[in-house]
């Protein structure tokens, strides 16, 4: 007699399963498990908003309380995706307003959000609690005001690196006097000044406020007054740190910080003058996260700060830290898990970047828990990469950006193939990898073969031929997102490995040599992929063998999308019709 788990029991068991990956596996077991799982899933994650229709998601998960959506491809962060491409939040909000009015949390990344959309959110979800917008655009401070004024139980409002039409700082005053539920507020990307008195009052009546990230318009005086009212903060993003240097100002600031005994995360620090840094010393021993990537502080001052941060787990900093600063980090910050070093000069021709491969080697040797790296520098060596791989096999995320395209190992003049081979082979848990520097097809052979857990791979200015893409698409067992620019492969590898694309979320290719003909063929043969050609010139006006500028391919059960702009060409599935613009104006 077959045993069957009563659905109540299964439901109870599933209530312990949070990870969506696990839940996805659960839902594949059999129909009844699928049904039970879908009725109990509360947090829904959609990695590509065009992979599925909003209606389908709403239908499948009736108990949804939290929705996370991602829109534009990652390379949109670097201006590679033209404006108007898509990623509109509205259709999702509309669908959820109709079908899931109990929705409490919305998190959007790289999407276009309008004021109307925000007003709809405010009006439709009675118990709305969390709004996090990351790298979004299309709205103004009016939309934020609508959220602030209407969502009575709002706990989290975070605008992370959004492009907002800033109509002034009034939005802050729209939080009603009765609102006391705020836990987290992040308006660091807004330009306008808010009224400090409004902010003070809001902070004073929000006893649960744990995270507050101010914008650069908030002065040091303002900061002091806020800190006095919120000594319970665990996360703080300061405003501008530049001010006339008066001793009283320094003392006040110092005192305010020393009262924040629970502060774990510190960011902001725009324009920070080194003379003010000692005011932070009191919080350093408790800090687990420090973002100095907007602070133009230089060496000796940086070390003075960092040597006090013995519990630091996450450090974001500019290359002004230099190799010797990183050496200090390696000896003082033994708990470090994540390091990001950003360039202080964006100029491609800059010849004097203060960090070299040695800096990263120091940290790799000294910080045993290091698992995530983002490192910008001018050039690198195979030896350094090999050392890093040997010392830190526990790396999960390794993004090396050698700013000089095609830069070889500067000591041996060889490609960096051997170095990345060591990384791929040695770091068996690697999930995310970005490569750079001079790389031949061989490097990709190693990556394809050894990087078994890599899910996201970013490549620029590398490789010699189609082999490179072939190695990646025929290897890399866990690959979900691949983004490649300016590499010399053509159609062959793409077409040979077409089936792989259905196992991935998306593939972005720009400035490579893939032809329009290949895109068309791919689209015809693979109905569950959307092949989108982004090109200013209609593909019909050029021969089929001519390369297209940008291609975005993603798997979908929603069919070709209806909101493509003029410059995006989704190839229609019916070959007789050829190319059609499915935009609805």
């Amino acid at each position: 007699m077959a045993l069957r788990l009563p659905s109540k029991v299964l439901k109870h068991i599933l209530s312990f399963i949070d990870s969506n990956e696990d839940r996805n596996s659960v839902s594949l077991v059999c129909k009844s498990w699928f049904e039970t799982e879908r009725k109990t899933r509360k947090r829904v994650f959609v990695g590509n908003c065009y992979a599925v229709t909003p209606a389908a998601v709403a239908r499948r998960f009736p108990e949804m309380r939290s929705l996370t959506l991602k829109g534009k491809p990652h390379f949109a962060d670097y201006n590679l995706v033209p404006d108007g491409w898509g990623g509109y939040a509205c259709p999702w909000i509309e669908a959820m307003a109709a079908k899931s009015p109990s929705l409490e949390e919305i998190r959007l990344k790289r999407m276009v959000v309008t004021d109307e959309c925000l007003e709809r959110i405010a009006a439709s979800f009675k118990d709305f609690k969390v709004l996090v917008l990351t790298s979004c655009e299309g709205f103004s401070t009016d939309g934020i005001a609508a959220i602030a004024s209407t969502c009575r139980n709002l706990r989290v409002l975070e605008l992370r690196e959004c492009i907002v039409e800033d109509l002034g700082g009034d939005w802050l005053s729209y939080f009603p006097e009765t609102s006391t539920s705020l836990v987290s507020l992040d308006f660091s990307c807004l330009d306008s000044e808010v009224k400090i008195s409004d902010l003070e009052r809001l902070v004073s009546r929000s006893p649960n406020l744990k995270s507050l990230k101010l914008n650069p318009a908030v002065t040091l005086d303002g900061l002091v007054s806020i800190l006095r009212r919120a000594p319970q903060l665990t996360e703080l993003g300061t405003g501008s740190f530049a001010a006339e240097l008066k001793p009283e100002a320094f003392t006040k600031l110092s005192k305010a910080f020393s009262n924040c005994k629970q502060l774990q995360s510190l960011s902001g620090l725009w324009d920070v003058l080194p003379e003010y840094l000692p005011a932070l010393y009191s919080v350093c021993p408790g800090l687990t996260s420090l973002n100095l990537s907007y602070a133009t502080v230089r060496m000796p001052d940086l070390v003075e700060l960092l040597r006090r941060c013995s519990k630091l787990q996450k450090l974001w900093v500019m290359d002004l830290i230099e190799d010797k600063g990183l050496e200090a980090v390696a000896s003082y910050c033994k708990e470090l898990r994540e390091l990001r070093v950003f360039p202080s000069e964006p100029d491609l021709d800059a010849t004097n970047i203060p960090v070299t491969e040695q800096g990263l080697v120091y940290v790799s040797k000294g910080c045993r828990k290091l698992e995530s790296v983002l490192y910008f520098c001018v050039q690198f060596t195979n030896a350094a990469l090999i050392t890093i791989a040997r010392k830190r096999p526990n790396l999960k995320c390794f993004r090396l950006c050698v700013i000089e395209p095609f830069a070889p190992d500067y000591k041996t003049n060889e490609p960096l193939d051997k170095g990345f081979k060591a990384i791929a082979e040695g770091c068996k848990d690697l999930r995310r990898l970005s490569v750079s520097g001079l790389l031949s097809d061989k490097a990709f052979k190693y990556i394809g073969k050894h990087a078994k857990k890599v899910r996201m791979l970013s490549i620029a200015f590398a490789g010699d031929s189609d082999l490179m893409l072939h190695h990646l698409l025929s290897g890399c067992q866990s690959l979900k997102k691949l983004e490649i620019r300016d590499c010399p492969f053509g159609d062959t590898a793409l077409l040979e490995n077409a089936a792989k694309l259905e196992t991935m979320r998306s593939l972005w290719m720009s400035s490579c040599f893939v032809s329009f003909g290949a895109c068309k063929l791919l689209s015809q043969k693979m109905p569950r992929l959307n092949v989108e050609v982004i090109d200013e010139h209609p593909p019909k006006t050029r021969p089929e063998s001519s390369p297209v500028e940008r291609i975005y391919i993603y798997r979908t059960v929603a069919g070709p999308r209806m909101d493509t702009p003029e410059f995006v060409w989704t190839l229609h599935k019916n070959p007789e019709i050829g190319v059609s613009k499915l935009a609805i104006k």
Binding site: F75, D77, Y78, N79, L80, V81, P82, D83, E161, I163, Y294, T296, P343, E345, P346, L348, D349, N352, P354, V355, T356, C401, F406, A407, N413, P415, L438, D441, S458, A460, F461, G463, D464, S465, L467, H470, S474, R485, D486, P488, F489, G490, D491, T492, E496, N497, A498, A499, K500, S511, C512, F513, S515, G517, L521, E536, S545, S546, P547, E549
Partner: protein, 247 residues
């Protein structure tokens, strides 16, 4: 060896293998082709200039390069890969820096600086021997060559030819639209090799003895012959050249 891909023969040539794993012949098939053929109009890396209206609002407007020396290679979109918020902040920083006129030891950013630049540069205290930038007309990405690794003009010309025009294992041909050899040193090719000397003047390469050349060169440019008018002619006396400049 990488041979040229035969494209433009219609869709029938493109076969679609739907297997996830590759059959025995596939690797060989692919090895015989490369993306290096059918160059035509795509032989060039496209830059923001090619898409004047199709660009993201984000950093395009504010990336005014205020305070920085004019970009020597045309701006490549999205490189280095820094998010626009950060990019804007960096550009603002640079503007503030030059506004304050802070002293920058060891940086090259002062526009009016005519200090003769040695071929050797210091990076973080370590000396980088002989690497200078090479740009080519029509190619967005510049390269670097190590002059000290070369012994003659012919050497140098060969390296540049390999860099920009051929795909060798481990290098990438950046243009490929030009299938003829460069022949940079003779006057008959489409391109000439020019250099900027310590005084900021652009000259044709090849006049002076090699050793003298490497001490006075700041950077190189592969220029279209048609645009190389007005450059100091090959056989002019150095004095004549100076006279011309001061005129």
């Amino acid at each position: 060896m990488i041979t040229e891909l035969e494209m433009g023969k219609g869709e029938s040539e493109l076969e679609l293998g739907l297997g996830l794993s590759l059959g025995g012949g596939t690797a060989a098939k692919i090895a015989g082709k490369s993306g290096g053929g059918a160059w035509g109009e795509r032989g060039r890396l496209l830059t923001a200039k090619d898409f004047p209206s199709v660009g993201s609002k984000r950093a395009a407007d504010s990336a005014s390069h205020a305070g920085s020396s004019p970009p020597r290679s045309s701006q490549v979109v999205g490189w280095p890969p820094i998010g626009s918020h950060r990019m804007n902040s960096l550009v603002n920083n640079q503007a503030t820096k030059s506004a304050r006129e802070e002293e920058e030891a060891g940086k090259k950013k002062v526009n009016d600086d005519h200090q003769p630049k040695d071929v050797t540069k210091k990076v973080n205290g370590k000396v980088q021997l002989g690497f200078i930038k090479v740009n080519m007309d029509g190619v967005a990405i510049g390269r670097k060559v190590d002059l000290n690794a070369h012994s003659s003009y012919e050497n140098l010309a060969q390296t540049l030819e390999d860099m920009f025009f051929r795909t060798n294992p481990g290098t990438i041909g950046l243009t490929g639209q030009f299938t003829k050899p460069l022949r940079l040193l003779d006057g008959s090719s489409e391109f000439v090799l020019t250099y900027e000397d310590k005084e900021g003047d652009w000259m044709l390469v090849g006049d002076v003895p090699w050793r003298m050349f490497i001490t006075s060169v700041k950077r190189l440019r592969v220029m279209k012959t048609s645009e190389a008018n007005g450059l100091a002619a090959r056989h002019q006396e150095p004095k004549e050249r100076q006279r011309n400049q001061q005129a």
